[in-house]
């Protein structure tokens, strides 16, 4: 593994290795007085964020620091070609500064892949447009593994705005690769066209789709989408596709409720559901740090010094 751009390109062995190393990272650091490992001492990790995302940036920063790497935060303005520096020039600048790894968040799908053509260091995709967010999917898989014992054979419903969701795309490839059954649920306006070849079931009826699931993953829905006629009103959306207490009771007892955050309480998820013990939302945040440690470690050391 030279870069981590998508979960689609990962082999099952690679995905499982990342999850195993994630477990080791969690064990190695948890409960320590100084929660830090020396593995990446002297290495420079650049956080290159073209979109505001304090959550993800902080998670990567924490992960890199716990591995003793030097972290540089490079906040860039959205790269409309006419304003500011081009992505290529930014890449060449980072290359000249000697970045060992670049963690990139960008509003344009494919920007991380372009970046690999211009720099020698490892590129880690922290979310590109509506394309991919591989570390989110890996932390979701890790959370399922911890809570449910395994991913293999489990059934996961991913609910909401699949069309605009890089989290959904990355989870489809990763979870199916790891042997889970994936259901995509949402109104047809928020499902991509021509996904007949995806390894998923597609449903429009949330109640029916919740039967027999082991995990339900609620996606953030932007209220503004109603202005582009994806759905009529926030209220109707919440009624048809929100996870409320009634629907929570439709789930099997062991099933968990996941959300990548940030949440719209009262829209895709009721506040009481978000705060229920079935919800894994804060665990997902904790697991995110371990997963990102594992990925940074594997990309920067090829696992050699483990």
């Amino acid at each position: 593994m030279k870069h981590l751009l998508t979960t689609k390109e990962l082999t099952r062995d690679e995905a499982e290795l990342i999850l195993d190393v994630t477990e080791q990272m969690a064990e190695a650091v948890t409960g320590r007085e100084v929660p830090k490992l020396p593995a990446l001492r002297g290495r420079t990790v650049v956080n290159l964020f073209f979109e505001d995302s304090t959550r993800t940036r902080t998670s990567f920063e924490t992960a890199a620091k716990r591995l003793s790497a030097d972290v540089v935060n490079f906040a860039a303005k959205t790269s409309s070609v006419n304003k500011g520096e081009s992505l290529r020039d930014t890449a060449l600048t980072l290359q000249a500064m000697g970045a060992d790894a670049v963690v990139i968040r960008h509003p344009a799908a494919g920007a991380p892949q372009r970046l690999t053509e211009w720099i020698d260091g490892a590129v880690l995709n922290a979310g590109d447009g509506t394309h991919a967010h591989p570390t989110q999917a890996l932390l979701d898989a890790f959370t399922m593994k911890k809570r449910l014992g395994s991913v293999e054979g489990r059934t996961v419903a991913i609910v909401g705005d699949i069309l605009h969701s890089r989290v959904a795309r990355s989870n489809v490839w990763l979870l199916s690769k790891l042997g889970a059954n994936v259901r995509l649920v949402g109104p047809p306006t928020l499902l991509p066209k021509d996904i007949g070849d995806w390894p998923v079931e597609v449903g429009y009826d949330l109640d029916a789709s919740l039967k027999g699931v082991d995990a339900v993953m609620m996606l953030r829905v932007q209220r503004e989408r109603m202005h582009a006629a994806f759905f009529p009103t926030a209220n109707e959306y919440a009624r048809l596709y929100g996870l409320d207490e009634r629907r929570l009771r439709l789930l099997p007892d062991h099933a968990i409720v996941m959300h990548p955050g940030p949440m719209n309480r009262g829209m895709e998820i009721a506040a009481t559901v978000a705060d229920s013990p079935r919800a894994t939302i804060t665990e997902q945040v904790t697991n995110g740090v371990w997963v990102r440690m594992a990925v940074l470690y594997l990309l920067l050391t090829n696992g050699e010094t483990r």
Binding site: S80, A108, A111, Q113
Partner: protein
């Protein structure tokens, strides 16, 4: 000017003849001997009427860093073209007599190909107010074809009026068929590949809906409409039915839509970003069939040069469009059966005679007969060549065919008997 004797050329694949040219016109064909003529040995070469491009972006005035009329027509000559129709989306837009006359004059001064300007339908391509179409038609540039290419004439009343208005001088509207509300933010063909790549989709129906509407408007008004860069299988169906009913409808297809598919977007390399976008394999197959059959009338390049910074970036930030003039003939031959199976008369029909007729360029698209202008290209049907971006005559490098080995080479191009390309090299002196 010395006489020119083209010896033993295979005239559109129908048999060998010599062609004697004097003062820019053919004077004799058959078996010809001539003293003091400059002889071009065309043994083993196919002679085609000079290619005519209905859809070229020359970028001048305004983006001379990407292409100029001179560099673009040099690329055209290299590709076998003797005439190109220059699209109106320059800066300033070709929406006045002044701009179209300037473009025509630049073409004349360069001397590599006849440049026929296309006028804008609406002022500034904004779709709000009709441009001074009559002034452009009656200018020295004699504009007959009007297009807001790059933008669709989306407003149905604007389209109706434009179609009616150009009837006074036998003009036509070349429509960039793209329903704008269905393609807001669109980056590539909507389908399985866009779903996976997370790039906003450009659905085929956005093209088909406008083509269907404009077929009906053309029939209703009795006017001529031409469809630019047709890219979907269903568009072909609609055009086929319209022609069967006798509607005055013509259509072009671009070389890239005859060869490449949306799978290329997986690279996220914006050299493959184009509007309309690369479609599916099944669309490519239907477009090839429609071109062979004649439902699609012509190959047009949509040659769209872009400066490096407009392509060397992330996909969404890149400008759409790709080079086409120097590769179009090779790809047309590929799409029509390859160098061994191709019918050269069909190649001549789709790349020269029909586009010349659509554009109203009477001196072009003519097989050699005594009296016709000597606008020809000589093609080596057995040669192959490798596309090397740095070797192209265009100022820009955004070819999607870099590294590909393509069939057939242009050995010579003659504009009114004067070689603009000879032995595969562009002539440096072009004054008539």
């Amino acid at each position: 000017m010395t006489d020119l004797l083209i010896k033993s050329a295979d005239i559109v694949g129908k048999g060998r003849q010599d062609v004697l040219v004097r003062d820019g016109r053919v004077v004799e064909t058959g078996s010809v001997t001539a003293k003091d003529a400059e002889v071009v040995d065309a043994d083993g070469l196919i002679l085609l009427p000079g290619l005519v491009d209905l859809h070229t972006h020359l970028r001048e005035p305004g983006r001379e860093d990407a292409e100029t009329v001179r560099s673009g027509t040099r690329a055209a000559a290299k590709g076998g073209y003797t005439a190109v129709c220059a699209m109106a989306n320059s800066y300033p837009v070709a929406d006045t007599a002044g701009v179209v006359e300037q473009v025509a004059a630049l073409g004349k001064a360069a001397g590599y190909a006849d440049v026929q300007p296309i006028g804008a339908v609406s002022v500034g391509l904004e779709g709000k107010q009709l441009a001074e179409i009559g002034a452009m038609a009656h200018s020295a540039a004699k504009v007959r074809m009007f297009s807001d290419d790059g933008h669709c004439v989306a407003d149905p009343i604007m389209m109706r009026r434009a179609l009616e208005y150009v009837k006074t001088f036998g003009g036509l509207i070349a429509q960039h068929a793209e329903e704008p509300r269905l393609t807001e933010g669109a980056q590539m063909n909507e389908g399985a590949v866009s779903a996976e790549l997370g790039l906003p989709g450009w659905p085929a129906v956005a093209e088909e809906a406008i083509i269907a509407r404009d077929v009906l408007l053309a029939e209703y008004t009795g006017a001529r409409v031409h469809f630019c860069h047709v890219s979907t299988a269903r568009s072909v169906d609609i055009i086929r039915e319209a022609k069967a009913r006798g509607a005055k409808v013509t259509a072009e297809v671009c070389p890239h839509h005859l060869l490449l598919t949306d799978e290329a977007a997986r690279t996220y390399d914006p050299v493959y970003k184009v509007n309309p976008p690369l479609r599916r394999e099944s669309d490519v197959a239907v477009l090839r069939g429609a071109l062979a059959e004649g439902v699609i009338d012509a190959v047009a390049t949509d040659h769209a040069p872009h400066a490096p910074q407009d392509k060397d970036c992330e996909w969404a930030a890149a400008r759409p469009g790709m080079l086409g003039l120097e590769t179009a003939l090779s790809i047309t031959v590929l799409a029509l059966g390859g160098p061994e199976g191709v019918d050269w008369d069909t190649v001549a029909e789709r790349t020269s005679r029909t586009p010349a007729r659509i554009a109203g360029l009477e001196a072009h698209g003519r097989d050699p007969q005594p009296g016709t202008e000597a606008n020809f290209t000589l093609v080596d049907p057995t040669a192959t060549w490798t596309v090397v971006p740095a070797d192209l005559a265009s100022l820009s490098r955004n070819t999607p065919y870099a590294g590909m080995v393509l069939p057939v080479t242009v050995q010579a191009t003659f504009l009114r008997g004067r070689a603009t390309v000879l032995n595969g090299k562009i002539a440096e002196e072009t004054t008539e």
